[in-house]
């Protein structure tokens, strides 16, 4: 007997169910501050019973939020995956495009998390976000071909990453103006500009700058 075309219920594995609940949670977090999303809301959005959500997240809202954040952090790390060929600034531009797409999709949750002061923010959530920042910096060093970045290069890269975060928060505040393509180009130009300033004080950075000549 063939299965019905649209089964009313499909039995999900534990991992599939967990992932479905996290997707529902992330969709809610994209439009509401974390403290305004309850486990009941997640049950409703996922079309499942409340006891089921509580079974997966017995630690309640905080556990749900941290799990959703880990899942979003994983997604964000994938934005940085970029093949090591072609012009360096083109690669950076593509990673920024994916990053801005992520920011666009997760708008409210992203702002709430980075703006701080949320009741769901803990030293654990801060550590997750810092891990993503470190991953972003490591990708940059890897594309630059630097295995041992010195303190001045590291400070410059970390400052630029922070500035990118700040710009994306402002971008969300300003109804996503300028258009993301313009913001991306602007951020790439700022990356070159701040490295150029550092190159005046740091031989390692000066040596790297040659790789930034357009077309290389």
């Amino acid at each position: 007997m063939p299965p019905p075309a649209v089964p009313a219920y499909r039995r999900l594995s534990v991992e599939e169910r967990r992932s479905q609940l996290l997707d529902s949670a992330l969709t809610l977090f994209a439009h509401r501050a974390p403290e305004d999303v309850s486990l009941d809301d997640v049950a409703e959005a996922a079309g499942v019973s409340r006891p089921l959500v509580y079974r997966y997240f017995p630690g309640g809202k905080q556990q749900l939020y941290e799990a959703a954040l880990r899942s979003a952090a994983e997604e964000l790390r994938h934005c940085f995956d970029e093949p090591h060929d072609g012009p360096l600034l083109t690669r950076l531009g593509r990673a920024l495009d994916r990053y801005l797409g992520f920011v666009d999709e997760h708008a409210t949750g992203f702002s709430a998390l980075l703006q701080g002061g949320s009741v769901v923010e803990t030293s654990r959530t801060t550590a997750i976000v810092d891990g993503v920042r470190r991953a972003a910096a490591d990708h940059i060093y890897s594309h630059l071909g630097v295995t041992d970045p010195g303190p001045r290069l590291r400070m410059t890269v970390r400052m630029w990453i922070t500035a990118v975060e700040a710009s994306s928060l402002i971008w969300l505040d300003e109804e996503k103006q300028p258009p993301s393509g313009e913001l991306r180009d602007w951020l790439v130009e700022q990356f070159v500009a701040v490295l150029t300033v550092t190159a005046g004080r740091d031989p390692q950075t000066a040596a790297l700058l040659a790789a930034f000549t357009p077309g290389t």
Copy 2:
């Protein structure tokens, strides 16, 4: 009869006492994370009885922390007070010198606050910190002689302010290297560099840049 040369106890006014307790608290916060400072510690540091500290801060540790933060925010705003004459970049450098002095003095408390995830962080403490950021931006516009900064100029200034914060956290992490004078010069150069990038896209910023020619 003349008063004793060194009175064992002097009766402080309510305001003086409050200010003395906040000074003691800020000294403790400079070396320990906010969650590791108790009202008992403040009593001991200020050399007063525990009930007296509890009388001034009946809301406990959270109230003490917010009051200390407000007091530190006030002090930080004073760092930005700079006469409107002389070369613009020299003024910026002097404000940065005072800012880095503040960071140096309040090291641990400053890091804990800006790194987030602290148990004492709330939407109120975030609002206090954001108020200081806005004040910093307003001072910059005022020195630039801009009364109506457009979105691109505003985004650039806010990004640079965030980058300055990031650099000061890294500076504390890296045992205050490079020396503060070098960090100050580097930040001033970065300010000019990011404005120069924005000037390529924004006529308002392009018009301002003339004012940055050294010696003006």
